[in-house]
């Protein structure tokens, strides 16, 4: 930790930073207002599944916003970042007009800056701990927008820098799953000189970034550029490969793999187990989003079908629920509804996503809970029964507990229902490794901060440990696991195990 503080201090005292700080008075900086993200018009954007809502900042907007950052002595924003990006350094490079250097700074610690700049909940992380939020009670510096700006600028410039890697040490390691946790892990390990292979069960690399998050929030081509970068650094990818099935852990050890990072995600979708839930036209958000995002089901040229409902109800209030309901709207739903058992206050979705959904005409049926589904003679859902709820005392999560209002049931017409009420860990890894310690929910138990499991050479992170979180927390886990696996392997090197 002291090393990191020391590094930040040295960077901050560099001549160009000092000059920039002295150029404009702090008072002038803090008087500036936070930039607004240019957005595509809601009525226009709902016609396209693949057009981004946020358009990105212009050079002038980005530089003006960068001026607001005061380059604090104690940059608390960094503490709010799970992957510890040197935020003031990259922001000041933007102010100075050295955008490629800003992008390079991001890549020192983040394998996926263009992704994080789009999907991170900055308002709960770096921007939450920004001096503006904490002390001035003003809008935070738009760190997320600036991150996206720098990453996009670099990509569009065609001068994409490939981070330097240490000389190869010949030690083979594997990452299981190719979502954000694995990619972040792979990025750090390849920099340290390891021989890294990422194994993915699906036919595409990227995990939730590809099958889950829709194009209008995170275009696939942007994910692909970041993946390409990891490939250039030497990371190998094996698709259609399920570790524990296609080959066992022992097979892979025999092939020379010395350690594993398991980031297989929180596979299994939860259902509510209410009557009628297995009727056709009722599907998990995982299924719906996978059909549309990974399999291109909305495009007639592709073979995978998807139901395009007229009256679509999405159950849940998280980001996945927002992604699903907004997708349904774009696929032509007349009514696209969120059915959520608490109120807007308690919604786990990002504020920006809720706002975008509202602008797009999504109906919010808060304080409502489905209790039964009904179907036509072919078994396709045509009606759902809802019960009204009110808020009681706070529960274990600190949110006010929803309580049913007796006798408040009523029916609405639906022809597509998407259930987005969370996920449970995939048992594939646990089934392959009976000795692995897991919690009673099935998440892998790891040593806090080290991400090491009960099997010494096996580390884990992301949703398979957390049980359903965010891209950036998964990436943070990947970095932590990389650091501690490195330490573990170096100890084995020292004791001549290889």
């Amino acid at each position: 930790m002291t090393d990191e503080k020391e590094y930040l201090k040295i960077e901050r005292e560099k001549e160009w930073r000092v000059e920039l700080r002295n150029k404009i008075k702090n008072k002038e900086r803090t008087d500036l207002l936070r930039v607004k993200m240019p957005e595509m018009d809601p009525m226009e954007r709902i016609k396209y599944q693949d057009r981004e809502v946020n358009q990105g900042l212009s050079v002038a907007q980005a530089q003006a916003e960068a001026v607001r950052c005061m380059d604090c002595v104690n940059p608390t924003c960094i503490e709010g970042c799970p992957v510890s990006i040197n935020i003031p350094k990259f922001v000041k490079y933007i102010e100075k007009g050295e955008f490629l250097n800003a992008a390079k700074t991001l890549k020192e610690t983040s394998a996926l800056p263009a992704v994080c700049g789009r999907v991170c909940p900055q308002e709960k992380q770096c921007e939450q701990s920004c001096f503006y939020t904490q002390k001035l009670k003003k809008d935070a510096v738009a760190i997320g927008y600036l991150e996206r700006f720098a990453a996009d600028y670099e990509r569009e410039s065609g001068q994409i820098s490939v981070p330097e890697t240490a000389p190869k040490n010949g030690i083979k390691i594997a990452a299981i799953g190719s979502g954000p946790a694995s990619l972040s892990f792979a990025g750090d390990m390849i920099k340290l000189g390891y021989d890294v292979t990422v194994f993915e069960a699906l036919h595409e690399i990227g995990g939730v970034l590809k099958y889950g998050i829709p194009e209008f929030r995170l275009p696939n081509k942007i994910v692909d550029v970041e993946l390409e970068n990891l490939k250039k650094m030497g990371v190998k990818f094996e698709t259609n490969f399920i570790v524990g099935k296609t080959a066992s852990f022992d097979d892979l050890k025999a092939e020379g793999y010395q350690a594993f990072f398991v980031a297989s995600g929180a596979g299994l979708p939860n259902f509510m187990n209410i009557p009628g839930e297995n009727f056709n036209g009722i599907l998990s958000s995982n299924e719906y989003l996978t059909r549309v995002n990974l399999m291109n089901a909305a495009d007639n040229a592709f073979d995978t079908p998807v139901f395009k409902g007229k009256n679509v109800a999405v159950i849940g209030g998280g980001n996945t629920a927002m992604d699903s309901v907004r997708t349904a709207k774009r696929l032509g739903a007349e009514r696209a509804m969120i059915v959520y058992r608490r109120s807007r206050e308690e919604m786990p979705a990002r504020i920006e996503e809720v706002k975008h959904a509202e602008e797009e005409g999504i109906e919010f049926m808060n304080l409502n809970n489905p209790i039964e589904y009904f179907a036509d003679e072919k078994g396709h859902v045509n009606r759902m029964r809802l019960q009204r709820m009110e808020l009681g005392e706070p529960d274990a999560s600190g949110r006010r507990r929803p309580v049913t209002i007796e006798g408040s049931e009523y029916d609405i017409a639906v022809d597509l229902v998407i259930v987005a009420v969370g996920v449970s860990p995939n048992p594939l890894i646990k089934n392959a490794l009976p000795d692995l310690k897991v919690s009673r929910w099935g998440t892998i138990d790891v040593e806090e901060g080290k991400m090491q499991s009960s099997i010494p050479e096996l580390f884990a992170g992301g949703d398979i440990v957390r049980g359903g979180a965010t891209v950036i927390l998964a990436m943070g886990d990947g970095r932590k696991a990389a650091a501690s696996m490195h330490e573990y392997l170096q100890q084995r090197v020292t004791s001549n195990e290889f």
Binding site: K245, T246, G267, L268, P269, F271, L283, D303, L428
Partner: protein, 276 residues
Amino acid sequence: MNKIIEKEFFSPKVACFVIEAPRIARSRKPGHFVILRVDEKGERIPLTITDADEKAGTITLVVQKMGVSSEKLCALEPGDEILDVVGPLGRATDIHKVGTILACGGGVGVAPLLPIVQGFKKAGNRVISILAARSKDLIILEEEIRKWSDEVIIMTDDGSYGRKGLVTAGAEEVILREKVDECVAIGPAVMMKFTSLLTKKYNIPTQASLNAMMVDGTGMCGACRVSVGGQTKFTCVDGPEFDAHQIDFNELMLRLGGYTELEKEAYQHYFESSIK
């Protein structure tokens, strides 16, 4: 990419492929399936592994033309490559020595039945197999099944081969004739439903292997959910075999028909575009 080594049509609508998949050939067990995607625009479809040759590094898959994806697959020839094949998926069959096994296969369901028949025979059981189909040309893999069975009974709806009648007629005859310890039924949902009703009557533990709709095949999507004993199970990770007496077959049949309309549209689109 997985290269097709051999291809043979069992009937105009049913083709058998031997494809390169060395790792799967080594790790697969009876009951396992793969998910494949023919090309960039293809669906992910599940197919049970019929056989494997570990030395040659190949697996055998049998596919029936039913829609766009299976048509596309059946149009491929030896030397062509299948874009994606992943597996082995699902839980392996619980193979054990129990005594006498009655193995019932309906139509193309005989393909997933073969490795199970092999497994039970190798484990030292007496195996009686019943192969049933609408007519003679739809009876497949008879020779291979015979190799691993103590007795084979053929049933056809139209009487064009073997005996005339449904699979259940043949099964009941065996049950009345001798002690059957366990039964396995694989075929169309309706065939499994009635086989299950029959064995329930005689209290014979029965496994059915379900051919549910799937997208990822690893537990992620839940498209393959099925009610077993009043609980929702995922065919891909909890199955594909379940206690047949607990399966809600009516729900399964409704779910299998869920995409019929969309599939018809896609089929039409496929033929129109292939004519152009």
